[in-house]
């Protein structure tokens, strides 16, 4: 336990240190960088370092504490938090949807070779469709749907796009994981006359977990990206994606504001990854320590 606490302390301090380092680099560039951008070997690669393009870190942070709009009693941090919470819930719905589809598909594909051969190429192709093009389409189709008298809510389109980005890594990771059970273990189960379902539940899934966890991490962050992009491109109100767009419009007058929303989105992604990391620690608690990362 002591060893565990020391490792946790070490990791936390490294995390803090990396943030401090980024802040220091940011501020240092503001000191040495050209105010209105600069050319390096003839190309305009050096970004502007003035306060409009790169506000001071403390300006961004203090922006959280000030009202969202002049005269409002709602402070920015409240708005960002509410937006992040809205998008978080959508991401969770998208992630759950994506993981059920992903796990379902991978079971089908591991059961029937023919399904894997036929389906996998299409899944790969599906991921090359630009999300920004797909989002309005999904919102359009969804808007015309009504299942058993229940209208397709607008927010659900965003969750579906979250699912669209999250199911793919989950499918591929789970499929690899299900196939990772050693041949000798499968043979052992067969010698016990175990059914396909018993082999799946008692052998294949437990051996797939080390493969599934990184896949679910990717899927969780994919879901956040999908939801945020969908909010932006379908104009869904209430989420962090919408805030980024709104605040970006005020960037010349209030440059620090857009960064508050961007950090909100980053924190959202980290929270999702954190949820998976916690389940990782729980699920792998009794496994040999070499395999836990």
């Amino acid at each position: 336990m002591n060893r565990f606490a020391r490792r946790a302390a070490y990791r936390t301090s490294m995390f803090v240190l990396s943030i401090v380092l980024v802040v220091a680099l940011w501020e240092m560039y503001k000191v040495v960088g050209p105010q209105d951008g600069g050319k390096l070997f003839g190309a305009g690669v050096l970004p502007r370092s003035n306060d409009t393009a790169m506000p001071h870190v403390w300006t961004m942070l203090s922006r959280y504490g000030r009202p969202e709009v002049r005269g409002s009693d709602k402070r920015v941090w409240v708005v960002v938090l509410e937006g992040a919470w809205f998008s978080f819930r959508l991401s969770i719905v998208g992630f759950l949807l994506g993981s059920s589809i992903g796990v379902g598909l991978s079971i089908l594909m591991s059961r029937f070779r023919i399904v894997e051969r036929g389906l996998l190429p299409y899944l790969v192709v599906s991921q090359t469709v630009p999300l920004i093009a797909l989002a309005p389409l999904v919102a359009l189709w969804g808007g015309k749907l009504s299942i058993f008298g229940i209208e397709w809510p607008r927010w659900f389109s965003a969750a579906v796009l979250g699912a669209f980005l999250s199911f793919f890594p989950i499918t591929v990771g789970t499929l690899r994981g299900l196939a990772s059970a050693p041949a000798a273990a499968v043979e052992l189960m067969e010698s016990y006359a175990a059914s396909w379902k018993q082999i799946l539940l008692k052998l294949r899934f437990p051996s797939a977990i080390p493969y599934m966890i990184p896949a679910f991490k990717l899927g969780a962050s994919g879901s956040v990206v999908g939801v945020v992009v969908a909010e932006i491109s379908t104009g869904l109100k209430g989420g962090i994606g919408r805030l980024i767009i709104e605040y970006a419009r005020e960037a010349t007058a209030d440059p620090a504001k857009v960064f508050t929303a961007v950090f909100g989105a980053a924190a959202l992604g980290l929270t999702m990854a954190g949820v998976i990391a916690i389940s990782d620690v729980y699920l792998m608690r009794n496994r040999p320590k070499e395999t836990t990362s």
Partner: protein, 270 residues
Amino acid sequence: MSAVQVTGVSKIFNQGTPKQVDALIDVNLTVEPGEFVSLIGPSGCGKSTLLRLIANLLEPTTGSVTVNSKSASQSRLDQDYGMAFQQAGLFDWRTVAKNIELPLELKGWDKDKRAARAQEMLELVKLPEFAELYPWQLSGGMQQRIAIARALAAHPPLLLMDEPFGALDEMTREYMQGELLRICAETSTTVVFVTHSIPEAVYLSNRVVVMSPRPGRITDLISVNLGAKRNEDTRAAADFFTGITAVREALRGTHADHANAGAVRGVEDR
């Protein structure tokens, strides 16, 4: 009633293709209840294939296999045998006790009965205090003992073992051989044991089946006269060395280079 009856069995992989392999040709073997039979031979002689045919993990191309007077597939469904491999093959995510319970779980035993049997098996392999540990916390020899406990958990009359001690060091290996004999005597289990160690085959067996490759076949059957009770003194006994010499002689000429020269001797025909 014989424990295992193999009659006129051939196993040909990839039949009719350029990659055709005659793994076994016309094999006949009878194992009596309570007998300990080892299969020995150079690699590629089909000893593991023969074991898998008995276990019904493979189907013979021709011929028939019966276990306890039932077809091999029926006896697999009835769990008439337990199996142990070179790798202990314990599941990392299950405690030692839960690993032993696995075959019982698959048979649908209820929880209390399973736990009681797991404890009984742990005592049989002399590791009763390890129930709640995980396999990776045990040494290789302990893991292999748990694998044997798992194979015997449902009290099958037959135990099939494929080089179970192949990955262990010499000291552990000899200890495990003694333990296996004790366990089989206590449970009156019939054993078919694949190995490529001559002393191991002689020390453990009532009969040693000598096999030869390309095509895989039985070339000799050697009875070992060491009596029922064997202990560490047995390893120094004259009969032990006589047995080793006999098996070594029989194996000479089964090596791939001499396979064509060696005539088929003393094939059992009963």
